[in-house]
């Protein structure tokens, strides 16, 4: 006997809203805080209607101070709540970086588990929405480098809801990156109520034996488009959506690259010190002898994310990814 699960067709940002609503209902200790998240429902409407439904004590409009409310959330988490902080744009997280780096990420280790910080920091990230400067950063590697915090980045509405719920229930701090470029790009059936997607597990989106393409967040649709174009040229592509950036799903990477022997990593962020380099290290550690070609990386450039007149040139495109796919095929 199967139980019918009711679903709703939601965009990614609506799925985020649905996850927050679900958890506010589910757990009394969940509390949201950030700038403009209450009456205004967040600049992207991710928290729309939640203050109305759960009150000003659960959904808190804070003063404009990333370090202040992130720090306050750390104190709340130490004292038993599960705060979910919204940073309006990842590019505005830097004032709170010290709080995350020196306190949230270390509290458990410093106190041998006596004090813990089960908080979530939500941050829309990435370029491609014609935003003003500083609004388009994709600096996830600053956080994947930091021990003590997990980094999650969904690319679909289903995953966004399941991963966000898992992040809220996680006993450790989680940075939850929301690709604003695909916030409303498409809809998907999302189950009502509570479900989780496991943190630390990637997802195979497409099967192919020739090349592995690894992507996350807003680069997933770019990778998929490139894979479709490659298919027309007779190249069969395995596409992996990482979904969690720390800890990486080593097994899904190894299984695929051992099968194909050729890999392209697509990363929106700057090249140097980026996560693609860690994925390369995983391939090196697990699958060196299977490789038929050097791994290609398609990334943003080592320049500040530019003003939007240039962002189409900055961002990896399906054409650049396809070029890389052909390069590893023809090596």
């Amino acid at each position: 006997m199967t139980t019918a699960v009711n679903t709703k067709t939601l965009t990614l940002v609506q799925a985020v809203n649905d996850a927050l609503r679900t958890m506010l209902k589910e757990r009394e200790d969940v509390i949201l805080l950030g700038e403009d998240i209450g009456k205004n429902g967040g600049v992207f409407r991710a928290t729309e209607g939640l203050q109305e439904e759960f009150g000003e004590d659960r959904v808190i409009d804070t003063p404009l101070s990333e370090a202040g409310f992130t720090g306050a959330a750390i104190g709340m988490a130490i004292n038993g709540l599960r705060p979910v902080v919204e940073i309006q744009f990842l590019g505005f997280i830097y004032p709170a970086y010290e709080q995350i780096m020196t306190h949230a990420a270390r509290m458990r280790a410093r106190t041998m588990g006596h004090f813990t910080v089960p908080m979530v920091i939500r941050a829309p990230y990435g370029a491609g929405v014609r935003a003003p400067e500083i609004h388009s950063d994709s600096t996830e590697a600053l956080f994947t480098h930091m021990p003590g915090i997990k980094v999650v980045c969904p690319s679909t509405p289903y995953d966004a809801k399941g991963l966000l719920i898992a992040a809220i229930e996680d006993p450790d701090p989680v940075l939850f990156l929301e690709p604003m470029r695909i916030y409303r790009a498409f809809r998907e059936d999302v189950p009502e109520g509570k479900y989780t997607v496991e943190i630390g597990k990637g997802k195979k989106l497409r099967e192919g034996d020739d090349v592995t393409v690894i992507a996350w967040g807003a680069m997933v649709p770019v990778a998929m488009k490139a894979a479709e174009s490659a298919e027309k040229k007779g190249i069969h592509v395995d596409v992996i959506d990482l979904r969690t950036l720390y800890p990486l799903d080593k097994d899904i990477i190894a299984d695929s690259v051992q099968k194909t022997g050729r890999t392209v990593i697509v990363q929106e962020a700057h090249a140097t010190g980026g996560l693609a380099n860690d994925i390369l290290a995983v391939i090196n550690d697990t699958s060196f002898l299977y490789q038929k070609a050097p791994v290609e990386r398609v990334t943003g450039f080592d320049v500040p994310v530019p003003f939007f007149a240039y962002e189409d040139d900055y961002l990896p495109t399906p054409e650049r990814v396809l070029h890389a796919i052909e390069k590893v095929m023809n090596f």
Binding site: S65, G71, G75, T102, A109, R110, T111, P247
Partner: protein
């Protein structure tokens, strides 16, 4: 502005009570408790400096001269309250209930030194400057939400008032009217930079005006002023009156840490003079003499007991089993990630190979 925020004294430098309304509350029992803690913190501090010089602990942060600030404020706390200290506030932490051994372990570079004693809500010392102020506001938010009568005290130095987090913490606490006492120990130097290069305002207390909360300036070497003013601020917090900013004006005699030389930036003649005039322990001793509470035998006894307690703690610290490298891997996450598990495993395999 200084006139609006005069330094509050209850006991002057000569050990005389200048605010008679407190006279009855200053009982012999209270004074003896205070004296014992003052002696304990001073003897401990001196012992630590000496242990550092002998290489038995690492770099140490002394607080000599600031004992009244730390002991007086910590004695005003109740058991359910929270303490958010800095690295210079181990005097306050020990007074509130952290064991001497744990304090020593911290300076010995051991993580065990951050674990608070059972039942004590003492958060590990904040090393970055002023970052613990928002945490205190957050913890206070939860106490208010739960409807408890617990309050939060957070310590910081004068240099911290230049940091953004100072203002963000005060602002957050003031907007939400939270039960938190912001306790500033103005020892007048942020490492080597004097307060006049830290801020143009004449007092730290006046900064409370911007947040529409009480700002109180007290003589930080007068333990009675520290104790009673902190107690009042905590009471206000418990009863829904919101946060208070207390500026306790004091002076550290020695270095910022055992790694710097205070004679390069701080007038050591001034420190010498202050040892005779404003010293917090000398002052309470003068008071006790005037009251006829001076009991040489009891004081010797206190010193002896404290000395034994410190020696036992030092012995315990030195007897502590060797630091286990597994501890460094095991507490980063609730469940170790594969990266950490692999690194731990590889390291121990290598170590066993070498040692085996």
């Amino acid at each position: 502005m200084e006139f609006q925020f005069p330094i509050i004294q209850i006991m002057n430098e000569q050990g005389c009570i200048v605010r008679s309304e407190y006279r009855e509350q200053i009982t012999k029992e209270l004074v003896m408790t205070m004296y014992r803690h003052l002696i304990r913190t001073r003897m401990f501090d001196r012992k630590c400096v000496s242990l550092q010089r002998q290489g038995r602990i690492g770099t140490y942060v002394p607080y000599e001269g600031q004992e009244a600030c730390q002991v007086g404020s910590a004695l005003a706390l109740r058991n359910g309250d929270w303490m958010f200290p800095t690295y210079r506030d181990h005097g306050a932490m020990m007074t509130f209930g952290r064991s001497l051994t744990q304090t020593l372990l911290y300076w010995k570079g051991r993580t065990e030194g951050c674990v608070p004693s059972e039942g004590k809500k003492i958060v590990p010392p904040s090393v970055p400057i002023a970052t613990q102020l928002p945490h205190a506001a957050g913890a206070a938010y939860v106490e208010k939400r739960k409807g408890t009568k617990n309050a939060v005290i957070v310590y910081f130095g004068d240099g911290a008032t230049s940091e953004g987090d100072f203002h963000e913490g005060l602002n957050f606490a003031s907007v939400f009217n939270l039960p938190v006492v912001f306790f500033n120990q103005n020892n007048q130097y942020a490492i080597s930079v004097p307060i006049t290069r830290q801020m143009k305002s004449k007092t730290i207390a006046q900064k409370a005006l911007a947040y529409d909360i009480p700002g109180i300036r007290i003589d930080g070497n007068d333990i009675f002023a520290v104790y009673f003013e902190t107690q009042q601020a905590l009471e206000r917090a418990r009863n829904g009156g919101g946060p208070t900013l207390i500026e306790a004006v004091t002076w550290r005699y020695g270095a910022h840490t055992t790694s710097d030389d205070p004679s390069k930036y701080r007038d050591q003649e001034e420190s010498k003079r202050r040892r005779e005039t404003t010293d917090p322990i000398k002052r309470i001793e003068r008071f006790m003499q005037q009251e006829g509470w001076w009991d040489e035998q009891w004081m010797n006894q206190v010193q002896k007991e404290v000395s034994v307690e410190i020696e036992q703690a030092v012995a315990e610290m030195e007897r502590y089993p060797k630091a286990n490298p597994a501890d460094m891997f095991d507490y980063v996450f609730a469940q170790p990630t594969w990266t950490i598990a692999e690194q731990k495993n590889a390291y121990f395999q290598w170590k066993r190979g070498i040692e085996g």
